[in-house]
Structures are given as C-alpha cells and as structure tokens.
C-alpha cells in the first residue's frame, strides 16, 4: 500500500512538473527574386515563415515601389521543402486555414491599408518550381511564373487589373 501511494505521488509530481509544449520554431527564409512584372524588370525580397511541423514553407515576396511608396507583396503557400514543380492554384475559400492547397495571393498595400487585392488567375501554367534544395545547408533556388487578376482595388491609383510575374528566378536560405 505504501509503495502504491508513493508511486501515485511520484506520478502526480511528474505530471505537475511537465512543462508545456514549446511553440514550434518558425523558420525564416531570406532570399531574393528577380522577375518580369508586367513586362518590367522587378526585384523583390523573399521571406518565409512556417511551422516546421508542417514540413512545408510559405514563401513571401515583397518590394516597395519607390515611386508610389506602395508595397507590393505576394505569397506562395504550402510548398514542401523538396525539389519539384508545383502547380499553384487560386484560393477562393479562406475559411479553412489548414488545407494543403498550394495557392498564391498578391496584394498592394500602404502599410495597413489594402489598396489592391489580387487572386491567382485560374489557368494552367501558374508554377512554383523548386529546382534545387539542399537539405543540409537549407539553401534553395527555383523559378516561378504566376498571373494574378484583381479582386478589388482603389480606383484612383492606376493599379493594374492583372499582374504577371514571369521568368521569376529566386534563391534563398531557410535560416533555421
């Protein structure tokens, strides 16, 4: 009986001292993208952030238009960290945050003020191609080709109705 009580106390102490699960670490991605945006040379920073548990990365690309001060940014999400040609789809339903759809969205913002929202055009040929992945150094590179169509935009800024990111070449590193 004494042993049972002692065991129960030790068991209780064990669970009482259990630390909460730490938040999964978020890998950051640093890199660059060069592409033709609506026919003009365009350079953007590449960022990323995704739970390691998902074994997938979200790739964010952004650049500030120095002429207008507006920030252009788009993301390609749910890409496995493995060499492959991934077809990217438009996303219509955002109510399910946990689906595995590989999708992309494009935004033009003035910091917190959304001025142009774009959805991927539903067409074949929207691709995100990881041509090189080094699982040791965590370096990667690839190409992309994406075309977006406007959902909503401010009327007076001369924003385009479609945005084509063509001949995109990117490279970067998953930092941790």
């Amino acid at each position: 009986m004494k042993k049972i009580v002692t065991a129960m106390i030790l068991l209780a102490l064990l669970f009482a001292c259990t630390k909460p699960e730490p938040e999964p670490q978020k890998p950051e991605i640093k890199g660059r993208l060069n592409a033709l945006k609506n026919g003009e040379a365009w350079e953007a920073y590449a960022h990323g952030w995704k739970s390691i548990d998902a074994q997938k990365n979200d790739y964010y690309f952004s650049a500030k238009d120095e002429k207008t001060g507006l920030i252009h940014k788009f993301s390609v999400k749910n890409i496995p960290f493995a060499e492959n040609l991934y077809e990217v789809k438009p996303k219509y339903d955002f109510s399910n945050q946990n689906d595995s759809l590989i999708f992309s969205t494009y935004y033009i913002v003035d910091y917190d003020l959304g001025l142009g929202d774009y959805r991927l055009l539903d067409r074949p040929g929207n691709i995100f191609h990881l041509t090189h992945v080094d699982s040791v150094t965590r370096h990667f590179s690839g190409t992309l080709d994406l075309e977006f169509i406007v959902i909503d935009k401010a009327d007076d800024l001369g924003l385009p109705d479609t945005i084509r990111i063509k001949n995109g070449v990117f490279f970067g590193e998953v930092m941790r």
């Binding site: 979200d58 207008t68 959304g114 909503d152 009327d155 007076d156």
Partner: protein
C-alpha cells in the same frame, strides 16, 4: 403659455440649477482623487481569481510599471465635473475636466475628460495654446459597479483594469514600436504650421450621421484579453473622444457600437498572414450574417497578438483594413482587423483603422514613413507629423493618429483648425483628416441604411463668457410636428432640474452661463412628436473667463479679434462691429428671447477685414436680444437690450 411665462420658466430652470449647486457639486473641499493606492499589496494578498487576471494583463501588454489600487466613484468624487489623479512617484497631480458624462439610472456611466492641470492644452475663446501645456484625457467606465478605463498624460498611456472585489490594476503601457519604427526620427522640411490662421477651409457642418459599428472578436483575442468586452467599449468611446477633440464632427457621437460578438473558431481564426485574413473578410458568410443582423455599417475584428509577430517586415502589422472609405463601393470592404493589445492608447490602432474606413490616409512622404503622397483622390486626407525648429535642427515631436508609426502618436486626427501645443495639427491642402471624416460620415452611415431615427441636436455658443446669457438651440430630425420640448439643466451631469420638466413648444432655451468659469452646465432636451416619437440629447458647456467684460478682447487673443454690439441698451438702431482677421465667410443672426430669428445677414465676399453693420431696430419689440456671430473660429454671442 405666454412668452413671458415661457421666459420665466426657462430662467427658473437655470436658477433652480444654480441653487442646487452646494448640494450636488461636492465643492466642500473634499478630495476628488480618483485613485487610492492602498498600502503595498503583494501578489500573496490577491485571491486566485485576482492573481489570474493580473497575470493575464501582465502578459497582454508591454508593461512599463503597474500598481494595485482602488477606483473611486466619479459620481461621488467629482467636483464641478473635475477629478484628480495622483500617481505614485510623480509630484504633479493631474486634473481632468468632464467633456462627456453619460450617466445611467443604475449608476453606471461613461466619463471622458480632458486634462486641465498643471498646464491645460484646452483651447479657450482666444484659440491660443501654449507649447508647454500638458495634453491628455481620461476615459473611465463603470459597468455593473466595476471600473475600467484608460488615461493618457502626454505620451504616457495607462490602462485601468478590473481585478474584481473592488480592486483595480493600473498599468503603464510602453509605447510599442511599429514594425517600421525607424521613421520616428524622420526629419522634414515642414516645420509644423504656426498658429497663424490659414485660409478659410472649414467644412460645412454635417447632419447627424453616426456609423453603426459591429465589433467581433476571435477566441484567441478573448483568451488573451479576458476583459475584451471592456476593451471594445473603451475603443469605441476613445474613438469618439478623438473625433470630438479633433473637431472631426459637429456632433459628439460619430460611431455607435451596435454589437459585440465572439467569432467561433470555425467562423474565423487568425492565420499568420494579415493580408489573407483581411482579404477573406468580405466573403466570410458568418461575418456577413452578423453584420446583416446588426445592420452594421462597419465591422471591426479584434484578434489575438499574431500579425505583429510575423518576422517578415513587410508582412508584420497591428491592424489592417480592406477598403478605405472614399467611395460608395467601399461598403463591400468596410472591414478591419485590429490586434487587441494595441487597440487603445498609446497605439490607438482601433481609431487608426476606423479612420481608414472613413477615408483617412497616412501621413505623407517625406514626413511619414514613406506613405504615398498626393496621387490619390483625397489629397487633403493625410495624417500629420509635427516637428519644430530648434536652431538649425528640425526636431520630431509627435504624429497624429493616422500616421504610420505608433511610437509617438497623439490622439488627434489632423485638422488645421486644431492646435496642439501651439502647432496646427494639419494643413488645408494635405493634412485634414477631420474634413475627410466629416465629408464621409453620412455616406458611411448609409452603407447599410436604416430607417431614419428621431434625433435632436443641440448647439450652444462656443466659449461663452462667464455670466453671459445665451441660447441653446435644438434642431430636430424625424420627429413629427407639433413638437414638445422638455428642457432640463444640471451642474453635475447626474441630477437634472426640474426633475419633471414641463413641455414647451420652443426649440431654444435661454440660459445664463455660470458666473464662475470653473462650473459646468449640462443642458438636456427631450423632444416628443405628435406620434410619440422621442429623441433626447445633452450638451456640456463651460464658460470662459473673459476678463469680466465679454465684449472686450482678451489681450492674448490670437484668433477671435473683435465683435461688439453697441450702444447697449439701444434705441432706433444698433451697430454690429466685427473685425474678421481670420478671413472667410461669416454670418450674423439676431434672435429674440423666444428664439425667433429677427435679423439675418451673411458675408461671403469679403474685401475688408473690419465691418460695421448698422441695423434699424424700430420694428423690434423692446426687450433682450441675442446677436449670434458665426465665423470659422466658431459661434460668438452678445446680448443687447432694445428700449423704445
């Protein structure tokens, strides 16, 4: 009722009010300290519930310092609409004066006041504000006997949290830095406008157009902020306070909270991408259902702290809006996300996003963080970064609430007619959020139109001189004639007299403003129409100390130069002299004591800075008249007696 009886009745109301002064204003010299700090209380003295709440608050904010304390009932401690706050470790006692006091029969209330000492930043009739004044406001709410609120003294922001069982928790919140805070040191060629009046640009007054705001909150926000409902109430009240002190609205309420609703995780959960989240709002069927049920013009979603944690600099944010309200089409995208922890001071993110929904834009390059300049449809709609000259240096001071950075935000929308520490908070051409809000208000209030509601608006002379007589004028909408007006007055915002007001058909109330400029005067009117439609409203008036002669200039007058009516008493004709150094249109109306307009003139094509109007008064009955001058500095009233 004869006119004489009406006048007697009105003056009786005021007289009764003033006679009640010693009974209800607590002027007996008792302390009006709002907070008491008990002898040191350690965590071990707290109940489990109090400690849990305290820990939650500590983890929800960037805490600079904190204190356990008790909050006194403003209804008991206020003296002439004033309360005092003394903080541990600070020598100064800060006094606040009521600007709005919504008192309910059950003893709950919302009290909002401006700081008035040690050195007030409040504008008086001279329009001049010293640059070393202390700015700030206090917002205190009592609900079900519990207190919560916030106050700001200069750039220091404090949250008042309820721990339960009569104990409160005061948190001084560090001014958090936005993801792009490097602009806080931005210099500018714009040194901030001095207070010399600019060209006329006052926007026309608006109808009463409150936007109906629905505030939703996520499960994550509730878990992070157990007092999320209080934060929502405060966010709305604070936004209205900022509208008011920015002179963005003629009316004292511009947004009305029509609902607070938790979103289930299945309806909306924050992702790590604020852009995808805000983009999803217009097509979210659950949110659309809540919006339609509440008939809400604007929808704000309060979230947990998540977007600001995004390490990608261009994707980190504290809030976001889907559309900015410069066109009718924006009703489809009238949604905003706000991280709850930053909704209130010192970030004012809730108000910032509401500002966007009204069409306000950020500050301009190069003053602000690189927000876009004039290439928009609303070139005047930008926030303002205020700097000052110090020898050859241009020193960054503060920025209005629509600026990008949040490190040094002040609770003002930009407005060239509002002075902050001897600097204009805006310019006519580029930085006039107040105008943007005024012009957008009625359009936004009709995003989801409701049948017009009965409404009564009250207007009083601005900055009346102590002891002066004046008229309170009620304007009524959506109430069927014949109308009955029930007038009441109060000197504490709680007890109104007469307690059972008698009906009158007059939409004006002649009042004698308190002879002491320290005394407030609340005026309430209830209007009943022939179909029993009812509308009610209150106005709070303080008089200025005009040096004992309300027709003379204040020597420090920078704005309102001269306005005189003579001779007084007059017979045959009167002269109305007006020196219009501020420029712009003006009008002069003369009312008799019953509020009937007997004379009206206006000048919209001025060529001379000074004018004298000579008016024959032979046809006027003998008695008192009120001459009301309106120009871009406000409304000014003079009383004159006509004898025959």
């Amino acid at each position: 009722m004869t006119p004489t009886k009406k006048l007697k009745q009105h003056l009786y109301i005021v007289l009764i009010t003033l006679l009640q002064l010693p009974l209800f204003s607590n002027l007996s010299g008792q302390s009006n300290a709002l907070f008491t700090f008990p002898s040191p209380v350690s965590n071990s003295n707290l109940s489990a519930s109090q400690l849990s709440r305290k820990n939650k608050f500590d983890s929800s904010f960037d805490v600079a310092s904190s204190y356990l304390m008790s909050v006194q009932d403003i209804a008991l401690v206020q003296e002439s609409g004033r309360v005092a706050i003394a903080l541990p470790g600070l020598q100064d006692t800060f006094r606040f004066r009521a600007a709005k006091f919504q008192y309910q029969d059950n003893g709950d209330y919302t009290w909002i006041g401006d700081i008035i000492s040690p050195r007030t930043c409040l504008e008086d009739s001279t329009g001049y504000i010293e640059d070393d004044c202390i700015s700030g406001f206090l917002l205190l709410m009592r609900q079900n006997g519990e207190y919560f609120g916030q106050f700001v003294i200069e750039n220091d922001a404090y949250q008042i949290k309820n721990l339960g069982d009569g104990l409160s928790y005061l948190i001084k919140v560090n001014a958090s830095t936005s993801p792009d805070n490097t602009c806080a040191s931005a210099s500018s060629n714009d040194t901030g406008s001095p207070i010399d009046p600019g060209p006329s640009g006052a926007a026309p007054s608006q109808d009463f157009c409150p936007a109906r705001v629905l505030v939703l909150f996520t499960e994550g926000a509730e878990a992070e902020h157990p007092d999320i409902l209080n934060i929502i109430d405060m966010s709305v009240a604070m936004t209205n306070q900022i509208f008011r002190q920015s002179k963005a609205s003629d009316s004292d309420v511009s947004i009305v909270l029509v609902g607070k609703q938790k979103l289930l995780a299945s309806e909306f959960t924050e992702s790590e991408d604020i852009e995808d989240d805000r983009n999803s709002l217009p097509t979210n069927s659950a949110i659309a259902g809540y919006r339609n049920n509440a008939n809400a013009d604007l929808v704000i979603i309060m979230t947990k702290t998540i977007y600001s944690l995004n390490p990608n600099p261009e994707f980190a944010a504290l809030g976001a809006v889907s559309g900015f309200g410069d066109t009718e089409a924006d009703k489809e995208t009238a949604f905003a996300l706000v991280e709850t922890a930053t909704a209130l001071a010192p970030g004012y993110v809730f108000t910032h996003e509401v500002g966007h929904l009204y069409g306000c834009r950020h500050g301009r390059k190069p003053e602000d963080c690189g927000s876009i300049g004039d290439n928009t449809g609303l070139p005047h709609s930008h926030g303002k970064v205020i700097v000052k000259n110090f020898w050859l240096l241009r020193i960054f001071l503060v920025e209005t609430v629509m600026s990008v950075c949040i490190g040094n935000r002040i609770p003002y929308f930009s407005n060239p007619d509002v002075i902050y520490k001897a600097k204009k908070t805006g310019t006519e051409a580029h930085n006039n959020n107040a105008r943007t809000i005024r012009e957008a208000a009625c359009r936004i209030a009709n995003y989801l139109p409701l049948p017009s509601q009965p409404f009564v608006d009250l207007k009083a002379p601005q900055h009346p001189c102590a002891g002066e007589q004046g008229l309170i004028v009620a304007s009524v909408e959506q109430v069927t004639a014949p109308l009955q007006f029930f007038w009441q007055t109060s000197i504490n915002g709680i007890n109104f007299y007469p307690s059972v007001p008698q009906p009158t058909s007059s939409n004006t109330l002649p009042v004698s403003f308190p002879g002491n400029p320290d005394l407030p005067l609340w005026v309430r009117v209830t209007v009943v129409g022939s179909n029993n439609e009812t509308a009610s409203n209150e106005i709070l008036i303080y008089s200025d100390d005009c040096g004992g002669n309300n027709m003379k200039l204040n020597p420090g007058n920078k704005k309102f130069k001269d306005f005189a009516v003579y001779p007084n008493p007059a017979k045959g004709e009167i002269n109305i002299a007006y020196s219009n150094t501020v420029g712009g249109d003006y009008s002069i109306d003369v009312f008799d004591v019953l509020g009937k307009l007997v004379y009206k003139t206006s000048n919209t094509d001025r060529t001379s800075p000074s004018e004298i109007s000579r008016i024959s008064v032979d046809a006027w009955r003998a008695g008192a008249y009120f001459v009301v001058l309106k120009d871009r500095t406000g409304t000014h009233t003079a009383r004159i007696n006509i004898v025959h």
